[in-house]
Symmetry: C2
């Protein structure tokens, strides 16, 4: 019997979840739940679309609900709410607010004997796991996380809000010399500016003052003022051809020492190169939906994170098969 | 109260465990247990040395026994035996025999309400974890493991057994073009020969027939005949200067696709660069000793693997701290 998944929210992430379910034979997508008019939404694989208000009626038809809304306003409300009725997985990624989200979802899930996993994806998510494994096995050392090269949607949005900008995409780029120093075990202390640069590809509206646009971007507080930013003005045609996708990625490096005299250096490096940020995140969500389903079946209730969940629960195969094949 | 660790076996790995314990403030080394005459063994940090026969008397003084013997003959006997008296961790690395070792240790540990973890290290170990995470989150794709550049002790031993060889070190080296093809998402089918080359640095005995030595190495069944091998004859001086260490490492790559048309490629890469194979393995053993100690404290008995153990159990900090800092 396959694991029945509901998709709550249907943007890039929701569509990615739908595709990922189609790649996992032990799962089936029951439907999409949207706050828009269901008739206005067409799904990629033809699964049905329901109003978000109808979700509760699906309690017996869905094993795990995957939440595909945003972290700013959707998930802080939706995940604790839906955890009263469903096993849930979300990709809540506001790092500083994770402990609060965890507490709220845990209370809701425990009260309903449901199982939840929050902050699932790649950062938070796989990168968090790798930070934990790295720090645990090399207890003396330093951990570095670099993001990119990839599109930051938040920064792209910020650039688009500048007057005179018709379209824009912002790439976060790790500084190669910083990466090299970290890999060499030099344990550099790196400022924000020394770790990443920002590249903006901007389509200006006709007649707009490009010098002003560039200045406003580069000095924008929080988003750009602490970084070395390069602004490239390009045509809409070039934009469409070269900057249509949402690639991303990054690297976690743990550098540490061992030995009686701490004479031996070690470097652990984990990197992601992703053509589609949303689809990769969706694939991680789907794997953790499997884990949540299994934990629930074993009577483990409450809210978990990727750090809590035994890796073997992610595998579609049995424990014996997985150990024989992968260990 | 710190976690009290016993070290069973005292070669490179045992010394590595001793050093690693000194790097973890929540742990203390109770002593070394050896089959040699204890008086003949001097420990790095001055911890006491006991006869292996005395181990049983330490049941109440040791929380976890870390086994530091070899996989060929030591661990298949020692781990199931000691699991009757102690929580145990080993680095059993004969991949094909893991299911049998798991079964034997599980029976012994369960019978005594003890907790065990076997096949802990980097392969099997961290690499196994990364294979599992990779295959779970990218369900359509291929997994590749490359080893090196690093010293294979088994192959170095094999070369030393060739007549006329005074000393030798064998490095396993991944083929760069194969790595590049994998990283590019080309999903190549790679033969043994296409994945790794072998480099032997040999000190020949005076008057030995170097051409014969080279031929015997290159055609040695199982060890070298399926590889492209290069043999370098060097002086004992150069050997001592350049080839004294036991560096190792490797890389696990998961390459996969997502999307409605499977149009997006993704590449997950995990690499290790280790100055000391034994010390790094020892550091992993020590982290998992912490996990075993905690699992035992929660009444989870039997034999586990790295795939079974929740990552959070490896952290010296509390769950709340670990989530706040690393998630």
């Amino acid at each position: 019997m396959s694991i029945r998944i509901g998709i709550y929210g249907y943007g890039n992430l929701g569509r990615g979840v739908e595709s990922a379910i189609a790649q996992n034979p032990d799962m089936q997508a029951v439907g999409v739940f949207t706050r828009r008019d269901p008739k206005s939404v067409k799904t990629v694989t033809g699964i049905p679309v329901y109003s978000a208000d109808e979700a509760q009626a699906f309690q017996d038809k869905i094993d795990v609900m995957i939440l595909c809304g945003g972290s700013a306003t959707d998930l802080p409300e939706q995940t604790p709410y839906l955890a009263q009725y469903f096993n849930v997985v979300d990709s809540f990624d506001t790092h500083a607010k994770i402990p609060v989200q965890l507490q709220k979802v845990d209370a809701a899930a425990k009260g309903a004997n449901k199982t939840a996993a929050i902050s699932v994806g790649w950062d938070p998510g796989l990168f968090s796991l790798l930070r934990l494994y790295g720090e645990s096995v090399l207890s003396e050392g330093n951990t570095y996380t670099f993001w990119g090269k990839g599109v930051s949607q938040g920064h792209s949005d910020a650039v688009r809000r500048v007057e005179g900008v018709a379209n824009a995409k912002q790439y976060t780029v790790p500084v190669e010399s910083a990466l090299c120093a970290v890999r060499a075990g030099e344990n550099p202390v790196l400022s924000t500016r020394q770790k990443h640069t920002r590249e903006c590809f901007v389509v200006a509206k006709e007649g707009a003052d490009k010098a002003r646009i560039e200045r406003e971007i580069k000095t924008m507080p929080n988003y750009f003022d602490e970084y070395d930013t390069t602004v490239y003005f390009i045509s809409q045609e070039e934009f469409d051809e070269e900057h249509g996708g949402l690639p991303h990625g990054g690297v976690v490096i743990r550098s540490g020492v061992t030995g009686a005299e701490k004479e031996h250096k070690h470097c652990i490096e984990y990197s992601l190169k992703l053509d589609s940020n949303a689809e990769f995140t969706a694939s991680v969500l789907v794997a953790y939906a499997r884990a949540v389903y299994r934990l629930h079946g074993e009577g483990v209730f409450g809210c978990k994170t990727v750090l809590d969940i035994p890796p073997i629960y992610l595998s579609a195969a049995s424990r014996a098969e997985t150990i024989a094949k992968l260990l």
